[in-house]
Symmetry: C2
Subunit: 376 residues, 2 copies
């Protein structure tokens, strides 16, 4: 099988990730933060070490402000609902995923916020686009680090600096940039950063992260046992306040190992993504009927259309007939397709990881050329 | 190490659970419900099989009404917030865990519900206790299947039948009963059932479940990508509506294997729990200074106090000096300790699993007798 759907979930993880998770599954099946016996204390230590490692990798604010969630979607929901200012104004971009848009629509539909969607004119969402959308009531800007459809990177560094001046909260959806693009939360003035473990970070499924600024208060969406302060109505501090219930230790520890691995191999991985997207773009350009929606990028995403085929059908043929995993359709990003005028057929997305190579792209192109034989 | 903290997380899982999860981690790292390639379709099939298996094991309402969450706490929060009737009245018991109490307190503090806590007089929460608390505004009763502190089983069958007559929703927190006590959701008239995978069900961490009645509508707490209906503001059907973001496939599949295993070994496991709790209770009774708060039970829990020691200190000595994992303190169940008058020292809890035996209990008792030597 050729696997080009790594922006959904990375298919192959580094060995250290499997080993770390399997060790915990088998020999440290413990409810962290509860007991005081040897293994429980060890589990607490590993979890703290993971918070510290992640905090350091992204230059976050403090390990206590690294919150483990089940996925990036949960992290984004906690961030959006937990910072709500009733009657306020929120800005998001047309590149946002439904994990940002749907929570915002929910607040808008209830009349709790007003929402402005910024449409980039040509490529990335720029500082100027955001600046023009700011009103006196704007308290939050939600921006994806890169489009999950095209791999287009937004100018979050410049936007972070603008929003800092304006005193507006800046939330970056890092689902596609974590592990791929350079991120320094303090330097880039990102107040809230959400990402998932299982995509570019190369950890297992079952863990996402919410990292946030020390000065910020985020209210919880769920309430439950916290292993401390049993007699109070809610825990008083972070991370406990945002982590009710049993933590998923194997996935969290997989993220520890994945972060160490990613830190070590960041430059190599980034170079490879740039090479593979460049190679794919250059070679796909030559094919009649292919329209490209991506340029070379470190995210590892290349989006395209082919003739007037419905892209889920192309993905179906590639999967069924040639065992090539790609994704057709809309990628949970409705406004992006409106922007790109691809609402009818969607886009075919290739997304690469560290284990992919150019020969696989050659094979893909060879088989793509055969798709017309199968499309009715 | 002797591990008696299985009511928090079962320390050893059946081999089929490890194998099932590891296979998925390594060879099926796929974002289920999204792609159309071979492995993606296989992942979808396994997830549906898991819903079916769980639905059948608990005699639930339909596989589509088996919702995967990250833990039992999330399931309970979704159930409680998602069925809110503003201005209504909710009943819960003094045995509830903070994962039920804290969401309810949150609603009460916001003035959205009124709340009555039923205090059992002597042992289990009985039908009569609930009946007396019902008002014309009561729309929901939340009851733990068994106390996570003492293992006391509530009479959920009789209460289910009462609530059905009255047309009141019945939510059972199954965190401690799933895998231990007989559950038949339809027969026992349980409308909503929440449980965690990693306790009595013997699955891995990272998966909980919410099962609910076909006639019921539960609103989501979080919103995000659902792999379908990209252009609508929320997905229209279950399970998608309550499962936004990437599912944790390894843990979910571990729950499939764990459910098959539990079904096969249910009677043997139940007999063992009854034997171990009986043995522990009988032998602990003989020790001067020990006060028992549990009787024989299929949940596998025995709670006790010893002299006037602070129970986290006892657990500390047992862990540090003798490598015995138990839990002292309050177990996230504040009202239970008020009820039992154990708010000062908490309770020491032993909780057993399928791999424990009587010799370990003997060893525990031998070492418990030495605790006074270490307590200051």
């Amino acid at each position: 099988m050729i696997f080009f759907d790594n922006a959904a979930t990375g298919a192959i993880k580094p060995n250290c990730v499997y080993e770390g998770a399997i060790n915990v599954m088998k020999y440290l099946s413990i409810n962290a933060g509860r007991g005081s016996y040897r293994l429980a204390l060890y589990a607490d230590e590993l979890i703290y070490k993971t918070r510290k490692e992640i905090c350091s990798f992204f230059n976050g604010y403090s390990p206590e402000r690294v919150i483990f969630t089940k996925n990036c979607t949960e992290a984004l929901n906690v961030a959006i609902f937990g910072t709500l200012k009733k009657g306020g104004h929120v800005i998001a971009s047309a590149y946002e995923h439904n994990s940002v848009l749907r929570p915002l629509y929910n607040l808008e539909d209830k009349g709790l916020i007003t929402l402005t969607i910024v449409k980039p004119q040509n490529g990335a969402v720029l500082k100027e686009d955001i600046l023009n959308a700011i009103t006196p009531k704007t308290y939050l800007v939600c921006l994806t680090g890169a489009s999950n459809v095209t791999g287009e990177i937004n100018d979050y560094e410049a936007i972070g600096s603008l929003l800092k001046q304006k005193g507006i909260l800046f939330l970056v959806d890092g689902a596609q940039i974590a592990g791929h693009a350079f991120i320094d939360l303090k330097e880039q003035n990102i107040d809230i950063f959400c990402f998932s473990g299982h995509k570019g970070m190369d950890a297992l499924q079952g863990v996402g992260c919410l990292i946030f600024n020390k000065e910020l208060e985020i209210k919880p969406l769920t309430f439950g046992g916290s292993g401390s302060e049993t007699f109070s109505k809610t825990p008083s501090g972070y991370p406990e306040l945002l982590e009710s219930g049993t933590l998923n230790l194997p996935s969290i520890i997989s993220l520890f190992h994945a972060t160490v691995y990613t830190k070590k191999n960041f430059t190599v991985k980034q170079k490879l993504m740039l090479e593979l997207t460049d190679y794919a773009v250059k070679n796909l350009k030559k094919i009649k009927g292919v329209k490209l929606y991506s340029k070379q990028n470190p995210i590892g995403i290349v989006a395209l259309s082919y003739n007037d085929y419905y892209t889920p059908e192309i993905a179906g043929v590639l999967g069924d007939k040639f065992d090539i995993a790609t994704r057709g359709g809309f990628h949970c990003a409705p406004l992006c397709h409106e922007l790109l005028n691809t609402k009818q057929n969607g886009l075919l997305r290739l997304s690469f990881s560290w284990f992919n190579d150019k020969k696989e792209i050659d094979y893909f192109i060879e088989k793509l050329l055969k798709v017309p034989l199968y499309v009715y």
